[in-house]
Each structure stands twice: as structure tokens, then as C-alpha cells.
């Protein structure tokens, strides 16, 4: 069985996971709005793509409203693995750096 590296969770990915766990499903733009300027709309999709590769989140396409048309929107949700990683990250943060724990 190939050895897998322990998953890393940079602060932005942790923030995205937190928001997704709270709301269960969000669009990229909603994540930007909910993050209170901590996430930028120019980079959030790149971060989301990377998180999907890591298996932290999953996404599905949602058709645009019929009267509006346009491209289908991609909506993101946390995976069980992502939730576990976030819990572990929160636990480690609380244990090692209690002053930073939220």
C-alpha cells in the first residue's frame, strides 16, 4: 500500500472548511463573502480546486436558473475526510497553541 503523507491544512483551507462545515454547502463567491475579506475571489477557486484534489471537499454542478441562463455554478461541500482533518487541526491548535484557538 503506498505511503500517504499526513494531510496539511493551511490557514485558508482551514477557514474554507470551517465555513463549509457551518453552512454545509456554499458557492465560491459565497465563501468569499462569508470570510469577511480573508478570502479573495481571484484565488478562492484555486484553493478550492486544491482542496478537492486533497479530498477535503467535494463539489457538484448546479444549473443556473432557467430565466437567467449562463454556466452551471459549482457548489462545494465538506467531505467526511475534510471534517476529520478540520477536527484534528482544531484539536492540535487547541493543544499546542491555546492562545490562538477560537
Amino acid at each position: 500500500m503506498p505511503a500517504r503523507n499526513a494531510p496539511s491544512l493551511p490557514p485558508k483551507e482551514a477557514l474554507i472548511l470551517e465555513l463549509l462545515v457551518q453552512e454545509s454547502e456554499l458557492y465560491g463567491l459565497q465563501l468569499v463573502a462569508a470570510s469577511r475579506r480573508k478570502l479573495k475571489r481571484g484565488t478562492v477557486y484555486v484553493t478550492l480546486g486544491r482542496m478537492e484534489e486533497k479530498g477535503f471537499i467535494s463539489s457538484r454542478l448546479e444549473d443556473a436558473p432557467a430565466d437567467q441562463g449562463g454556466l452551471p455554478r459549482r457548489i462545494y461541500a465538506p467531505t467526511a475526510f475534510g471534517r476529520r482533518v478540520l477536527n484534528a487541526y482544531a484539536h492540535v491548535t487547541r493543544t499546542l497553541m491555546p492562545e490562538l484557538a477560537r
Binding site: 458557492y27 465560491g28 463567491l29 479573495k40 475571489r41 481571484g42 484565488t43 477557486y45 484555486v46 478550492l48 480546486g49 478537492e52 443556473a64 437567467q68 441562463g69 449562463g70 454556466l71 452551471p72 455554478r73 459549482r74
Partner: protein, 350 residues
């Protein structure tokens, strides 16, 4: 009315692979379209405009990141790292030729003058623009020949690289080289005579910027020969700026007909032959215009003579391209377009 981001999306499709489009670009554009539609529906025209600007900037950033990250990585694999090889070899060849072209006058200066480190560095810096102006087109030939062009996408990227090299050469021959040449002359004057020149030395043709040369062509000359000569100088300088495009297209024409990238020896031979042919055309165009026995400057417009090398190489490139297309049509197994399905990702257009 076209939905916002549609054109940007079609441009992004040229640079990004399907996965990048689906995961990065399309979500960004879909959110932009949705936000813009909401703002318009609410009747907030100014807000809709703001959304559009912010959205476009964000999408542009996503395209830049996506194209630079996943797409190039995947493209490297799909094209056998053709573009990577082109860039690497072009950089190596350009650096080598620049070093060579700088070293020749420097060695002459060192043979006659005692140069301190400071003077040596200054002279080297002044010589670099003129060396680069010749080395960049040459580097482009070696780069394209080394990289090959296995797919349509790699050919398009090569042409973009050529445009970049041409713009760089334009900057060099138009402004940096004349300034460097003049600074070199004045420094040499001070080194040889032991005193700084009083004011600027009179500018020769090679020390005039493109604007200066252009101005000369507008001046009235009694002799038509001088007017023709000035015009030839101006157009020759301009034509040299587009040498990377002409030489590169020619190299691309050779590469397109090959299934595999050429070996180092073949690249070296072909590259040197191409550059030498270009130089010969430049030399003989000048000689035919103004020297006996031809001296045809009265009958041939200077612009034609100045652009002759580029025109000759573009025509050759076109013939090579047509030959490759004919062969591909005759033998589909020779199809050199590479994996077409990867060239055009099958993402439905909005």
C-alpha cells in the same frame, strides 16, 4: 447580448486544459455571471458595472494562475515538454550568443587599453543591448528547432513566444541599443583620451533611436540616394525587431514536418544555417541597393529591401507549412497535430 465572461472563457480555453477549465475558470465565470445578473435584476446598474470589473479582474487572476499551474504542467506532458524545451534552449542560445557578441569588442578593448574592473563592467553593460538584439532572434531559432512543435497548441504557444521575443527585440533595437552604443563610445573616448568628452559625441546612425531615425527620413535631402539610405536604415532597424518572428516561423515550419524533436547536432547545423542565411540576405539587400554593380536604390523602394530577409523567411515558412499540411492530408498517420482532443477541451460553451 453576450453574457459576461464568455469571451474571456473562450480565450482561457486556448491556454488551459479541461480540468482547469472545469475546476477553476468555469466556477469563477459562473459566479460572475450570476452576481452580475442579480445586480441587473435589482436595477443597480452601477453596482452591476462594479461587479463586472471586480469579477473580470478575479477571473483574469484565476486564468493566469490556472494557465501557469495545471495547464502548463499537463501541456508539458502532452507536448513532450516541447514548450519547456523551446524556452530552455532559446534561453541557453541567447545567453551564449550574447556572451560571444559582448566578448569580441571587449577583447579588442582589453588588447589596446588597460581597463579597470569598473570600466570593464560598464563597457560590458553597454554592449549587452546590441548583443541581445542579435542574440534574441538567433536564440528563437535554436529554441524552436530544439523544442519541435508536436501539437497545434505547442505551435500556438511558440508563436506567442516569438511575438514576445519580437517585442523585446523592438525595445532593444529601438531604444536600449542606441543608448548603449552611445554610452560605449563616450566611455571609450574617455578611456582613450584620458578626458571626458565635452558634451555628447555626435550621434551616428547606430546611436539614433527609432524615433530619431524616423525623424531623419522626414528631413529633406538634396540627393535622393541619401534619402533612400536613411529610409533603408530606419526600416532595417524595424525589420530586425521582427526577425524573431520571421526566423521563428521558419524554424517552426521545419519542426512541424518532423515527428520527433531534432538532435543537438541537427539543431546546431540548421540553426546556424538559418541565421547565416538571414545575415546574408540582410547584407546583400544592402549591397544590392547601394553598391556597384547593382546599386538599384533608384528602382527599388528601401522598405522592400529592408524587409527582404523577413519576407523571404516568411515565404519559406509558409511553403514549409503547406508542405506539411499536404503530407498530413496524404497520410493521416503522419498527422502532426498531436492529441487534438486535448487541444480543444470538450466543455460546452455557455
Amino acid at each position: 447580448m453576450t453574457r459576461p465572461g464568455t469571451r474571456l472563457r473562450s480565450i482561457a480555453r486556448r491556454f488551459c486544459n479541461r480540468e482547469t477549465m472545469e475546476r477553476l475558470i468555469d466556477p469563477a465565470i459562473a459566479d460572475l455571471q450570476c452576481e452580475h445578473a442579480d445586480a441587473r435584476r435589482a436595477g443597480a446598474r452601477w453596482r452591476a458595472g462594479g461587479v463586472l470589473i471586480a469579477g473580470y479582474l478575479a477571473v483574469l487572476k484565476v486564468v493566469a494562475i490556472g494557465a501557469g499551474r495545471a495547464s502548463i504542467r499537463d501541456r508539458s506532458t502532452a507536448d513532450g515538454d516541447a514548450i519547456g524545451r523551446t524556452v530552455r534552449f532559446a534561453a541557453i542560445a541567447t545567453t551564449s550568443f550574447t556572451a560571444l557578441f559582448v566578448s569580441v569588442p571587449l577583447r579588442q578593448a582589453l588588447a589596446t587599453l588597460h581597463l579597470g574592473t569598473d570600466s570593464l563592467i560598464r563597457l560590458t553593460v553597454y554592449l549587452v543591448p546590441q548583443a541581445l538584439a542579435v542574440a534574441v532572434p538567433m536564440g528563437m531559432v535554436f529554441g524552436v528547432l530544439s523544442g519541435g512543435a508536436p501539437t497545434r497548441r505547442s505551435r500556438r504557444t511558440s508563436v506567442l513566444l516569438m511575438f514576445g521575443a519580437s517585442l523585446t527585440t523592438l525595445l532593444l533595437v529601438g531604444w536600449l541599443m542606441p543608448e548603449g552604443n552611445q554610452a560605449y563610445r563616450e566611455t571609450m573616448f574617455a578611456l582613450i583620451n584620458g578626458v571626458e568628452p565635452h558634451g555628447r559625441l555626435a550621434l551616428g546612425t547606430n546611436e539614433l533611436t527609432l524615433g530619431g531615425l524616423r525623424q531623419l527620413t522626414r528631413d529633406q535631402f538634396v540627393l535622393p540616394l541619401i534619402a533612400s539610405r536613411r529610409s533603408f536604415d530606419f526600416h532595417s532597424r524595424l525589420a530586425l525587431a521582427f526577425a524573431p518572428l520571421a526566423l521563428g516561423q521558419f524554424a517552426l515550419g521545419i519542426s512541424s514536418g518532423r515527428r520527433r524533436a531534432a538532435g543537438v547536432l541537427t539543431v546546431g547545423m540548421l540553426g546556424l544555417a538559418g541565421c547565416f542565411a538571414y545575415y546574408l540576405l540582410m547584407y546583400y539587400a544592402n549591397a544590392a541597393m547601394y553598391r556597384a554593380p547593382f546599386a538599384v536604390s533608384e528602382h527599388v523602394p528601401p522598405i522592400i529591401a529592408a524587409w527582404l530577409p523577413n519576407l523571404a523567411f516568411w515565404v519559406s515558412a509558409l511553403l514549409l507549412h503547406l508542405r506539411t499540411r499536404r503530407r498530413s492530408a496524404a497520410d493521416p498517420s503522419r498527422h502532426d497535430g498531436g492529441p487534438r482532443s486535448e487541444d480543444r477541451p470538450a466543455v460546452p460553451q455557455a
